[in-house]
């Protein structure tokens, strides 16, 4: 694939290095000349020592034949504009639009960037959070995955004897519409729960739920305040 990476800071640099090792063709754009020089010497790849939010350097980088454009700078507004410009410039020049990916530094901006047309966002905080949650054994809830386009979360709940749902049937929890438990892990066994399945302490529940119902489901299963 042909990939344009904007920003050769730590994230952009390591990403490019990996992508080149995997055999992809990578062009980097880095506004700091010294940094650009340094990275070019090491990676031996094309580094344009300019700022990526000026359209002409994206054109120089060959944005119209790029499969993917990744904006990795430390400023979310710059990453947004780089992705939007890449898409617009490619379309203006009659090329198909590249897939755009933006690094998000402030978790709040994740949904904003998606709404404004960025195809995918990567936010370090939300990548690390589930890993940390998993490490904290006392924490009974783990975010496994977010299916953003559908607005659905895949979550894991570990039930303890103190949980309000222990000893109750799935049906009796009156779960909000759209919430389902495709799987319960009980000891070595995996069950596909039916409405009359009774939840037991030590059960691990895998739940699919619309994002907006997360607090309600969390409250009913673990007793956390909504």
């Amino acid at each position: 694939m042909y990939i344009v990476v904007a920003g050769a800071g730590k994230v952009g640099y390591h990403l490019s290095k990996e992508l080149i090792a995997q055999g992809h063709e990578v062009v980097l754009i880095e506004k700091d000349r010294e940094r650009a020089q340094e990275v070019a010497e090491e990676l031996g790849s094309v580094v344009i020592p300019r700022t990526a939010d000026e359209g002409r350097w994206l054109i120089e980088a060959g944005v119209e034949r790029a499969d993917v454009v990744v904006a990795t700078t430390g400023d979310d507004e710059d990453n947004l504009i780089i992705c939007q410009l890449a898409e617009l410039l490619a379309q203006r020049r009659g090329a198909r639009k590249p897939r755009t990916i933006a690094r998000v530094n402030h978790p709040k901006n994740e949904s904003v960037l998606k709404r404004l047309g960025v195809d995918a966002t990567v936010n370090t905080t939300s990548v690390m959070l589930p890993l940390i949650e998993q490490e904290l054994s006392s924490h009974p809830t783990v975010h496994l995955m977010t299916l953003r386009r559908a607005g659905i979360e895949l979550m894991e709940f570990i039930i303890s004897a103190e949980c309000p749902c222990a000893g109750r049937t799935v049906e009796s929890l009156n779960l909000p519409h759209g919430v389902s438990f495709p799987l319960i892990v009980r000891g070595e066994e995996t069950l596909s729960p039916a409405p009359d399945t009774v939840l037991q302490p030590e059960d691990t529940i895998i739940a699919l739920l619309p994002t907006e119902h997360e607090p309600a489901v969390r409250a009913r299963l673990t007793g956390d305040a909504e």
Binding site: E77, I81, L88, K108, V112
Partner: protein, 146 residues
């Protein structure tokens, strides 16, 4: 958004004209420095690309939004949030870079480039010899009358 020389001056003007103005800036010192003593609007401390800050500034009730901060990308992002997330009808965006200004105005975002306007103004003053001569003549005339 943006209480610098440009945003602050605009806020003062709009407030003096009787509009209900709320101004947002990340630096409280900017309010003191650029807002007039008779500015009657509200000031909000925060980042204008933060939807919560925009809500606090009452963007859901706003008839218009102006992004007049220093960074072009910051302004372009805030303007799009105002338009797309909050449906503000009139949005104007300060954008110095001509390429970005053209691209985003093609997409329906009204952009204004202060550096373009200033450069044009200076050029006109420089090239307008008639005005220049009259001004000089006027000044000399006034001096002589005194």
């Amino acid at each position: 958004m943006g209480s610098g020389r440009i945003g602050g001056t605009l806020a003062n003007t709009l407030s003096a004209e009787g509009h209900n103005v709320t101004i947002i800036d990340i630096n409280s010192a900017s309010f003191e420095k650029y807002l007039a003593a008779d500015f009657r609007g509200q000031t909000i401390l925060g980042d204008g690309i933060d939807e919560d800050v925009l809500r606090e500034a009452g963007i859901e009730r706003a008839d218009a939004f102006v992004a007049a901060a220093y960074g072009d990308n910051h302004n372009l992002m805030a303007s799009q949030i105002a338009k797309v997330s909050f449906g503000v009808q009139r949005v104007v965006c300060r954008c110095n870079d001509q390429v970005r200004a053209d691209i985003y105005s093609d997409l329906g975002l009204a952009t204004v480039s202060p550096s373009r306007i200033a450069a044009d103004g200076l050029r006109d003053a420089l090239m307008d010899e008639e005005r220049h001569r009259q001004d000089v003549a006027g000044t000399i005339g006034r001096l002589l009358v005194r």
